[in-house]
Amino acid sequence: MTTPDYRLSQLETLEAESIHMMREVVAELERPVLLFSGGKDSIVMLELARKAFAPARIPFPVMHVDTGLNFPDVLEFRDRRVTELGVHLIVASVPDAIARGTVREEPNGSRNRIQTPVLLDAVEKHGFTALFGGARRDEDKARAKERVFSFRDEFGQWDPKNQRPELWDLYNGRIHLGESIRVFPLSNWTELDIWQYIAVENIAIPSLYLAAEREVVERQGMLYAVNEFISPREGEEVRRETVRYRTVGDANLTAAVLSTATTVEEVIAEIAVTRMTERGATRGDDKVSDAAMEDRKKEGYF
């Protein structure tokens, strides 16, 4: 771990920085919650939370905004992981909200936008004042502008032109009643850092992240695995390809990429040479416009 010149590697530095942020939140804010989807970023975030408070238990619950469109593999992983860690899981269900009529299904089938009111309702119901999110600044131009402690007003809104100055690692967690802070412990991690950390620390991930032969259809140049949410449309040909997922979002909108990587090390090798950002390559919902993420974030999206 230590080096003769008292320097840390990039992963050790990022890890230390993230642990510092998480401890700061628990020390300063009353009711934190960690957003956990079973995706690789939130898996790493949860692992960092474990390390930050060990040997004690993670001192806050985790929450999943369940769109009802999740890969079964990922849900199973989510449940197993929270059981292992002994943390309490809260599920905020989008299908329940649709059934209650508090949100309405969008015509394109994407539940990306309507997760936001479900998230905000759950935050209000449980009185959460700090929400840990696994977003990284290298993912998107709007996220590159995000603070580590990102202030949200009582409507959960982000005001990108009027963010609190954030000096050094002196995070300001002060809020009034009804307001909250979104905290991004992985702000300075890149996609490659996440994968290297998973490899070095031997962290378990859902099998979807590794290549396997799957039945796929091609839509607008992207490969979608046939599953309970995706059936071939007329004129679409089902073929077998060896693919893996770079991100795991909603199963009806997340595409897979051609890959032969069956181990984490092979995934790293592929990512290191890849020339397409992970969201651009696999998320139908982010291709809408240059400012799609900024607009959703202003409304309270992560």
Binding site: M1, R7, P165, L167, W168, L192
Partner: protein
């Protein structure tokens, strides 16, 4: 399947044990800062194809692909063609990983520049070769020195527009060097570049045979930062007390925190402030279990031999080398609120893990960051002003001068009514 040579090379690049260099960039609106960053990202292959395609679409009609569009992330920034807030960018070479805070150059956004520079190891100030050193360039260099960014690079950009004139470069270099001599700039490097065409950015350019220094990227990869840290003064602000209260760890009581400076080892005799009691370190737990030593910026949990009353905001140090314990704080303050800072005002202070309240006893002077003139008659500090302030705090703080210790020498000021961060302070006992 055997990995291809390119995958092998990529894996090697990805797996190498590297350190992180944090960079802040600043420049005037048209100095080409965003273009330079776009160039560094593009030439170091940190820009992905879909991002590049989006930029190509957006810059259709121009002669060049507008690399600046890679970094200006907010709608308002793209519309106005300016940088408003800090954007963080990531790129890596086989030698180092870089985190770049791309900060606005305009005076109106000074507070965002201070935000970006606060964590930097190195600052890049851009100067337009045609215009020479402007008021803004002086301000940027001054802010970098105020925040004690250890390394300063002046990138003299748009050299192609002055026909790569050696005289122009030398004039700017000499002017900057004499200005920097008045500031605390321990390491200054001046590099002639063309961000638009990539000259001297990643590789040395044949356009400047008279220049025998490094390319910008070469300098970023090799600048020596190991000696920038304070390994002498042991300072461990207690962030959080870990008490598992479980059967397996019934008596465990650990003090979690991030090492600010110095080195801690099990067996060390230590003193806890404010109580002043001494004890020894029983063990140090890191993220992967017990460690033999801890140094900045490690996040660890320290266990002590004796059962003392220690809580968040306390500080662990060595008995023979303690910080100053004081309620009277003299500091340079960068003010970030629309409403003025004035003597008599009450504010909240966050210093390391300690939060206290304070009253502004005195504004000693307001500094003109362009001329370095001290205005002792100034009634207050307005938005983006910098001045020397004396505070009296409700509880003692455990402080060092910022010049000696960037962690225990810094604090933020918070408006208790709005909860906004309204100022950044850097302690100094001198004038």
């Amino acid at each position: 399947m055997a990995p291809t040579p390119i995958a092998e090379a990529a894996l090697e690049l990805a797996s190498a044990r590297k350190d992180i260099l944090r960079i802040a960039t600043a420049g005037s609106v048209d100095d080409g800062k965003s273009t330079l960053i776009g160039r560094l990202l593009y030439d170091s292959k940190a820009v992905f194809e879909d991002q590049y395609e989006a930029v190509e679409r957006a810059s259709a009609g121009g002669d060049y692909v507008n690399l600046a569009l890679l970094t200006d992330g907010l709608r308002a920034e793209r519309e106005q063609g300016i940088t408003i807030d800090v954007a963080y960018r990531y790129f890596a070479t086989p030698r180092r990983t870089f985190i770049m805070a791309d900060t606005p150059g305009h005076v109106q956004y000074t507070r965002n520049m201070v935000t970006g520079a606060s964590t930097a190891d190195l600052a890049i100030v851009l100067v337009d070769a045609r215009k020479g050193m402007l008021e803004q360039s002086r301000r940027h260099a001054f802010l970098a020195s105020l925040l004690r960014v250890p390394h300063l690079v002046v990138a003299v950009n748009k050299m192609d527009l002055v026909d790569w004139s050696e005289q122009t470069y030398e004039a700017i270099r000499d002017e900057f060097t004499s200005f920097a001599a008045k500031l605390n700039v321990p390491d200054l490097t001046v590099i002639p570049i063309s961000a638009l065409h990539g000259d001297n950015v990643v590789t040395r350019s044949s356009a400047s045979p008279w220049y025998d220094g490094p390319s910008l990227l070469h300098h970023l990869e090799h600048v020596h930062v190991a000696s920038d840290r304070n390994l002498v003064d042991t300072r461990f602000p207690v962030q959080f007390v870990i008490r598992p209260q479980s059967d397996a760890y019934h008596d465990y009581r650990g003090y979690a925190g991030t090492v600010a400076s110095g080195v801690l080892r099990p067996g060390d005799e230590v003193q806890v402030l404010p109580s002043g009691l001494t004890t020894t370190i029983a063990a140090i737990d890191g993220p992967r279990g017990p460690v033999d030593e801890a140094f900045a910026p490690m996040s660890v949990t320290v266990r002590l031999t004796d059962d003392l009353d220690v809580s968040r905001g306390d500080l662990i140090c060595r008995p023979a080398n303690a910080p100053r314990v004081s309620q009277d704080i003299d500091a340079m303050v960068s003010w970030m609120a629309d409403t003025e800072l004035r003597p008599g005002q009450r504010l909240a202070v966050k210093h390391t893990t300690r939060s206290v309240r304070a009253v502004v006893k005195e504004l000693q002077y307001r500094l003109d960051v362009n001329t370095l003139h001290r205005d002792t008659e100034a009634p207050g500090l307005g938005l983006n002003d910098i001045g020397r302030v004396r505070l009296r705090t409700t509880q003692p703080l455990f402080v060092d001068d910022y010049a000696r210790n960037r962690v225990t020498g810094r604090f933020i000021l918070i408006d208790e009514a709005t909860n906004s961060t309204v100022g950044a302070g850097m302690l100094s006992t001198g004038s």
